[in-house]
C-alpha cells in the first residue's frame, strides 16, 4: 500500500508540475516505487566511520515496526480491527512518539555535520507538532468517549467526526505533514540545504527500509485520519448483495485515497519553510486552535447539544 501511495504521489505531483511522472515500469509506472525499493536493497551499505554501528543498523528496523504495528489497530474490512483492544489509541500515540524518538536517535548516530543539524531540526519540529497532533486526536477520542480506535469508528455511525470538529481535522492533517516531513515541513530532510538531512548517511538496505517506513507511515497517518475523523469504513449501505467486508474496504479505500490526495496536492503547491517559522506556526497558531477546538467540543457535549452515539 505504501508503494501505491508513493506512485500516486509522484504522478500527481508530476501532473501538477506539467510533467508526466513515472511511466515505464509497469502499467503507468505503477511498479516504479517497488523497483526503487528493490534497487536499494541491492546497493552496498556504507557505514560512516564515526557512526555508532549498533544503532545505525538496528534502529531502522525499530522505526519500521512503529507504523506497521499501528496499522493493526485500524479497522479496515470490518468494524473491529485486526488486533484492537480497549486502549489501543494510547498505544498508537505511544508508537508515534516512539517513531519520532527512534528517528532522532538514528539521526544522531550517524555523526556527520549534516545529520547533526538535521537532528536538531528534527527534534525541534517534533516537539512543535506533537502537541497539536495529540490534541486533535484526543478531541476525537473525548467526543467519542472511547480510547480505542474501534470505539471511535463505531461512534461515527450517526455523523462523521469531521463535521463536528473540522478544525481538529485540519490541525491533524497539518501536523501529519510535519510528522511525515512533507513540504512545507520537510525541514529535517531538506534536500537542497543539508543534503538529505537525517537520511544522508544511510545507504543500501537501511535506506530502503527507511524509505519504505516513511511510505507506510504516510499510509498509516492517512488511515488514522480516516478512522478518527471520516468514519473509517462506514458508509451508506451499498446494496444487499455486497458483502460487508468488501463494502467496508471500498469505503475505507476511497476515503484513504482522498486524504492522501489532499496531502499530495498541498505538498506540491507549497514551498519549504524555515525551522523557526515552522515552530512559530505550530506553537502560535495550531496549538491554540486545537485547544480551542477541544474546548468547543467539551462545551457542546456538556450543553447536551452534541451527543455521542
Amino acid at each position: 500500500m505504501g508503494f501505491i501511495f508513493d506512485w500516486l504521489d509522484r504522478k500527481t505531483a508530476a501532473r501538477m508540475q506539467g510533467r508526466i511522472g513515472p511511466k515505464i515500469t509497469g502499467p503507468s509506472g505503477i511498479l516504479q516505487p517497488l523497483a526503487d525499493f528493490l534497487k536499494l536493497l541491492f546497493k552496498e551499505e556504507i557505514i560512516p566511520s564515526h557512526a555508532d554501528k549498533v544503532i545505525f543498523l538496528f534502529a531502522p528496523a525499530l522505526y519500521f515496526l512503529a507504523p506497521l504495528l499501528s496499522m493493526l489497530f485500524i479497522p479496515i474490512i470490518a468494524l473491529t480491527p485486526t488486533a484492537g483492544f480497549d486502549f489501543d489509541l494510547l498505544v498508537i500515540l505511544f508508537l508515534l512518539a516512539f517513531a519520532a524518538f527512534v528517528i532522532a536517535v538514528l539521526s544522531y548516530s550517524s555523526a556527520s555535520s549534516f545529520t547533526t543539524i538535521a537532528t536538531g531540526r528534527l527534534v525541534l519540529q517534533y516537539v512543535s507538532y506533537e502537541i497539536p497532533l495529540v490534541l486533535a486526536i484526543v478531541t476525537a477520542a473525548i467526543y467519542s468517549r472511547s480510547l480505542s480506535v474501534e470505539g471511535i469508528v463505531t461512534s461515527q455511525t450517526g455523523l462523521w467526526n469531521v463535521f463536528v470538529m473540522p478544525f481538529a481535522f485540519g490541525v491533524y492533517v497539518i501536523a501529519l505533514m510535519a510528522e511525515l516531513e512533507k513540504p512545507p515541513f520537510d525541514i529535517p530532510s531538506a534536500k537542497t540545504e543539508i543534503v538529505a538531512g537525517w537520511l544522508t548517511e544511510f545507504s543500501g538496505r537501511a535506506l530502503a527500509f527507511l524509505k519504505l517506513t516513511k511510505e507506510v507511515g504516510y499510509v498509516f497517518g492517512s488511515a488514522l485520519a480516516v478512522s478518527l475523523f471520516l468514519g473509517g469504513p462506514l458508509g451508506p449501505q451499498m446494496g444487499a448483495s455486497v458483502p460487508a467486508p468488501v463494502q467496508y474496504f471500498a469505503y475505507f479505500m476511497v476515503k484513504l485515497l482522498a486524504v492522501g490526495f489532499l496531502i499530495f496536492v498541498l505538498k506540491t503547491a507549497l514551498a519549504r519553510v524555515k525551522i523557526a517559522q515552522a515552530t512559530e506556526l505550530f506553537w502560535k497558531v495550531l496549538t491554540p486552535v486545537s485547544l480551542a477546538q477541544l474546548a468547543l467540543v467539551l462545551v457542546l457535549i456538556q450543553g447536551g447539544i452534541l451527543l455521542a452515539a
Binding site: 508540475q17 520537510d186 540545504e193 514551498a271 524555515k274
Partner: protein, 414 residues
C-alpha cells in the same frame, strides 16, 4: 605545486579560524545539491546562524586567459563563448567588441540590433532559469518546473534564429554571423507577449505565496554602503538602489537606440531581487519587440583580415549577472598577447559572503543563488597550505618568476 613561494603576499585569510572547533564547521561544497558548480564554502556556525563564510575557489579554473594567448583571434571568440552556458553570448560579445576596438571597422547597424536582440533573449533565459532555481532552493519544486517550461519558449526562439539553444555562436568580427530568418518578427513579438504575461503571473505568486514570502523576505539584506564598498555589479547593485547598469551608463551595441527602463529596487532582500529580475525580464521582452519591429536593413557583417593591429582595448557589457569586463592586448599578430576577463560573479561573491553572516543555513542556497553565481566564469587560481590553513595568491610577476625558476634553475633569483 610544493615549491617554495618567492616572496608571495601572504594574506592570513584563515586567521582566527583556529578557535572554531570542527563541530561548528559545515562544508558547503564543493559537491553539494545546492550548488550548480563546485566551489567550497566553509560555513562556521553557531547553532543554525552563520558566523563566517570562508570560500575556497578555483575548482573550475580552466586557464582560459592563458589558452587564449595561443589561439587565433576568431577561435578565441568561440572559446570565450564557452566560459559559461548562461551568459555565453555576452562573453563573445564583449570579446568581440574589445577586439573590434583595436581595428578600424565599424559594426553595421543591423548587426548591432541583432546583437541586442540576442543579448536580451539571453537575459530572459537567464532570469527565468534563476527564478526557477530560487523556487527549487526554497523547496518550491512546482515553481521551478513551471518557470523552466516557459524558458523553453525563449530557447526555441533562440534556436530558430541561431541554430543552437545555449551556445549561440552568433558573433563574428565584425558583426553577426547569421541574419534574422524571414517571418521571425511576428513570431518573436507574439512570444514576447506570452512571456510578459507569464512573468506577471510569477510576480503575483512571489508576492502572495506565504511560504515563498517567508523564505525570501528579509533574507539577503545588504546595505547600500557595503554594496558600494564591495563594488557589486548588476542586479545586486540595483536591488540596493544603486544606479549601475552598463547598458545605461555606457551604451554598447544598439542600446543607445532602443528605449528601455532601468529597474531599481530599494528594499534590499531576496524578494526584491526576484521582483527585480522579473521586471528586467519584462523590460527585455519589450526591448526585443521594439528592436525586432525597428530592425534596420543593411549588411550584418564586415569581413576583416585575421591579423589585428597592435594596441590594447577594453570593453564592458551588461551580462544577465552584472558587468562583464574584457581587456585585450594585441601585438599585431594572429593571436592575442593578453586577454583579461573579469566576470560579475567575482565582483559579487564577497558581497554574498558578507550577506551570509547572520543568516541561517536554510538561507545559504538562497543567498548564494541570489547573486546568480556562475563559478565557471569566475574562477581564479589561489594557493592553499592545508597544514597551516593559509591562503594566498600570486601576482603575475611572481607566477612568471616561478616559471623561470622551474625551467631555468641557473637563472633562478633567490
Amino acid at each position: 605545486m610544493s615549491a617554495e613561494p618567492i616572496q608571495p603576499k601572504q594574506r592570513e585569510e584563515s586567521a582566527g579560524l583556529m578557535k572554531y572547533s570542527a563541530e561548528n564547521l559545515v562544508p558547503f561544497g564543493p559537491i553539494h545539491p545546492a550548488l550548480k558548480e563546485p566551489e567550497y564554502f566553509k560555513l562556521i556556525l553557531e547553532g543554525e546562524r552563520i558566523v563566517q563564510v570562508i570560500p575556497r575557489i578555483g575548482y573550475v579554473h580552466r586557464g582560459l586567459e592563458k589558452a587564449a594567448e595561443t589561439r587565433p583571434w576568431v577561435q578565441n571568440m568561440y572559446m570565450f563563448e564557452r566560459t559559461c552556458g548562461i551568459c555565453s553570448f555576452v562573453h563573445s560579445l564583449a570579446y568581440g567588441q574589445a577586439v573590434e576596438g583595436l581595428t578600424i571597422y565599424e559594426v553595421p547597424r543591423r548587426a548591432k540590433f541583432i546583437r541586442l536582440i540576442i543579448a536580451e533573449m539571453e537575459r530572459i533565459h537567464s532570469h527565468l532559469l534563476w527564478v526557477g532555481l530560487m523556487g527549487h532552493w526554497a523547496g518550491f519544486e512546482t515553481l521551478f518546473m513551471w518557470v523552466w517550461r516557459d524558458r523553453e519558449v525563449v530557447l526555441d526562439l533562440v534556436e530558430a534564429i541561431s541554430g543552437n539553444r545555449i551556445h549561440k555562436s552568433m558573433n563574428a568580427f565584425v558583426g553577426v554571423r547569421r541574419d534574422m530568418p524571414e517571418g521571425m518578427e511576428d513570431r518573436i513579438v507574439e512570444r514576447m507577449k506570452f512571456l510578459v504575461d507569464r512573468a506577471r503571473y510569477y510576480k503575483e505568486i512571489i508576492d502572495t505565496e506565504e511560504t515563498m514570502l517567508e523564505r525570501t523576505e528579509k533574507v539577503g539584506k545588504l546595505s547600500q554602503d557595503t554594496a558600494e564598498k564591495l563594488c557589486v555589479v548588476g542586479p545586486m547593485a540595483r536591488y540596493v538602489g544603486l544606479q549601475k547598469d552598463v547598458r545605461l551608463n555606457d551604451p554598447y551595441a544598439a542600446y543607445d537606440e532602443v528605449p528601455f527602463d532601468i529597474i531599481i529596487r530599494n528594499e534590499a532582500d531576496v524578494h526584491a531581487l526576484l521582483q527585480l529580475r522579473l521586471d528586467e525580464l519584462v523590460a527585455s521582452a519589450n526591448m526585443i519587440s521594439y528592436a525586432v519591429q525597428h530592425l534596420p536593413d543593411g549588411p550584418i557583417r564586415v569581413k576583416i583580415p585575421p591579423i589585428i593591429p597592435a594596441g590594447e582595448h577594453s570593453t564592458h557589457c551588461e551580462a544577465p549577472r552584472g558587468e562583464i569586463f574584457y581587456y585585450v592586448k594585441s601585438g599585431g599578430g594572429r593571436t592575442p598577447e593578453r586577454v583579461k576577463v573579469r566576470t560579475p560573479t567575482l565582483a559579487n561573491l564577497p558581497a554574498a559572503l558578507e550577506i551570509l553572516k547572520g543568516q541561517t543555513i536554510a538561507d545559504v542556497p538562497i543567498v548564494l543563488t541570489a547573486i546568480d553565481p556562475c563559478f565557471g566564469c569566475m574562477d581564479r587560481m589561489s594557493f592553499l597550505d592545508t597544514e597551516t590553513n593559509r591562503q594566498w595568491t600570486w601576482s603575475g610577476e611572481e607566477l612568471r618568476q616561478y616559471g623561470i625558476n622551474h625551467y631555468f634553475p641557473e637563472r633562478a633569483k633567490k
